[in-house]
Symmetry: C2
Subunit: 370 residues, 2 copies
DNA sequence: GCTTGTACTTGAAACGCATCAAAGGGGCCG
DNA sequence: CGGCCCCTTTGATGCGTTTCAAGTACAAGC
């Protein structure tokens, strides 16, 4: 239980302290026998390098920090997944912190990571990133994810507006007259989706649009109660197209509508955003617009690497991802993965996730409710 | 960009180094004016304490590490969520690492956390935890989650066998004659579920049972292809009850069956495990057995706290969670949250998650496919 | 046998901070 | 005015590493 330190290993192995350090960091400098001896001693003693001391002495570690607003949001996980894979590819570790929808906590973890001599830090901010301009003059490379910053700095943003636009176009194509958007628009990203919808509808003044706040958590239950409220309206005040700013919300809305005897999509069409696999892998797939989360995470790490390698004091660079739309239908999915039979969209997901052929396009998964 | 250190702050504020340190760690020891002066200086200079140095000088930090096998698995996220909340309650930070289904990586992050002077570390191991007995004699409190250890040490386990038993009993009650279990049984937890099923069926030798491996990733696509294979069998070799060891798998199986013209649940019943919200909040909820992930995370942190506070060199302690089953139906859900109207199961989820009234019971969410 | 070079190894210095014994300053009492 | 005590501030010390200039040993070349 007593902690074994490098000097213990050195004494026990009969070499000097610096040699053990070299065994750990520059093994090629040692004679094979020495290296072997030291490694055996390390294992025998159960020595674990003290990361704090390493970092203090040696500067930054090869690890990145990622602060996410929530963990139960599929999109954030895609980001984490993309960031993780890209980081590992460069030999970096990725540590994730959950800000739990709390500004203070987000700030806390951000500072924590900065102070831990991380090589770089990424945030998917819940508010506007201008919340703390100080962040951009931090001594560590930082990249904002899934958001547009007006401050100078680095960010990777999904084209949330494009997502809104795509949905709106879908609605127009389906002949919608009254669109109801469900979700908390206070989240920056969702606001942009709404903006995209509005823009796309600018040329269609005849289409009525309303936004209903779904409460802080955007849960299925929130969707359900809003759906119930919609179902309760007289038919002429009822929307014919509902957009859930989240898949879970959309799912809840649909449940409520069906429960209340409103048929979907005959009377009301419903679509979601996020591309949650379960939402569209079920027997009754939900139409969903999926921002390229995986790609955002990946690009985020690339931006970090760029800053690290160039040693250039923070310049500004922005990457926008997902402006192009890719429509996933049974047919295109089948094409993509080169199968003859009719396959479901999620098979594409498999093909792309596993084979790592993710593109940076925004995916539309056409489901049954639309 | 140049890093500001504590001595810079001290010089700038005209106080000594130790005083600044006190301002950070023992503010009550300072005169209010001094404290204020120092804090202003800190903000003005943008000083960030170097965590490595703090840890090196001061011993362990108030933070825990959590190593998860995957991030895209709802159950792991529930663990993370429970652990996070409990950790924050005690004033600890929680850092999460994604082992990405890789033994080596899991080991790597574990060692990393140990070496970072974390106050404690938790793992949800993917293999048997006996994989590395050395772990139990580490210099840091460690707790294994969702698994039974034969080695001495601490762990919190969901009663996976109980989950299997519950499902089997459900199958028996529905008059099943041929049960097919879909999933990679190589995962310890899944093995136990299968074991539970076998045990429950011991008294029913007439019920045939088979297990089909779903490949390494347990994706919806895997479920789909297995479902298609099942659908392709002659009717008398086809199971009348399919258990997906994962909700996503179950979802995929259902899709395939429906696509191939087999009606669910009339011809084949399907149930899943995990309690993924999206699986049962949809318009056609999936029956699911939900292990109490949130609770496991919570208890894990509690076990960590216990070890820390008692300063007792690692003793052995095990907590089993979720042996009792709680059946969630529309009716009980309504009861639980005290509503008159018929509500859907996920409303219970909301009630419990938000109000933090999670119990440690295994939940069964009765859906439409059973 | 001496020099030069090569291949390792050594150990002291520094990393930024928390700690704590000791010093400083002020008020109170005798 | 001296002595005492309490409140606040000081700064040297050490935490476990990495780094790097200096050292050692040995081989090759002359």
């Amino acid at each position: 239980m007593a902690k074994v330190k490098i000097s213990d290993v050195a004494r026990e192995a009969g070499v000097s302290l610096g040699t053990v350090s070299n065994a750990l960091n520059h093994p090629e400098k040692l004679r094979p026998e020495t290296l072997k001896l030291i490694n055996e001693t390390i294992n025998r003693l159960g020595y674990l390098p003290n990361q704090s001391a390493r970092q203090l002495a040696g500067g930054a570690t090869k690890s990145f920090g990622l602060v996410l607003p929530r963990l139960d949001h599929g999109f954030s996980l895609q980001i984490a997944s993309g960031a993780h894979n890209e980081a590992r590819k460069h030999g970096y570790d990725l540590l994730i912190a959950n800000a739990d929808n709390d500004d203070i906590l987000q700030d806390h973890y951000l500072r924590y990571f900065m102070g831990t001599q991380m090589s770089g830090v990424m945030v998917q901010p819940m508010a506007s990133p201008d919340w703390h301009p100080a962040m951009t003059k931090m001594p560590v490379p930082i990249v904002h994810l899934d958001i547009h910053c007006s401050e100078p700095g680095y960010y990777v943003a999904a084209d949330n507006e494009a997502q809104g636009r795509i949905i709106a176009e879908l609605a127009i194509a389906r002949g919608a007259h009254h669109i109801t958007v469900v979700g908390r628009a206070a989240f920056m990203q969702l606001t942009l989706r709404v903006l995209g919808i509005h823009k796309a509808l600018a040329l269609h003044p005849d289409i009525k649009i309303e936004v209903i706040d779904a409460g802080e958590w955007n849960t299925a239950a929130d969707g359900y109660s809003i759906g119930a409220q919609i179902a309760g309206r007289p038919a002429n005040e009822r929307p014919d197209f509902v957009v859930g700013l989240t898949d879970v919300l959309a799912s809840g809305v649909i449940s409520a509508l069906v429960d209340k005897g409103i048929s979907v999509p005959e009377q009301v069409r419903v679509a979601g955003c996020d591309g949650n696999p379960l939402a569209w892998s079920g027997s009754v797939p939900l139409t969903t617009v999926a921002p390229p989360g995986y790609e955002i995470g990946r690009k985020g790490v690339q931006l970090l690497m760029e800053q690290i390698e160039n040693k250039v004091p923070t310049k500004t660079k922005h990457i926008h991802v997902g402006s192009a739309a890719r429509t996933v239908t049974a047919a295109t999915a089948a094409e993509d993965i080169n199968r003859q039979e009719l396959v479901r969209p999620f098979l594409l997901e498999r093909a792309s996730t596993q084979a790592n052929t993710q593109t940076d396009a925004t995916a539309i998964n056409l489901g049954a409710y639309l």
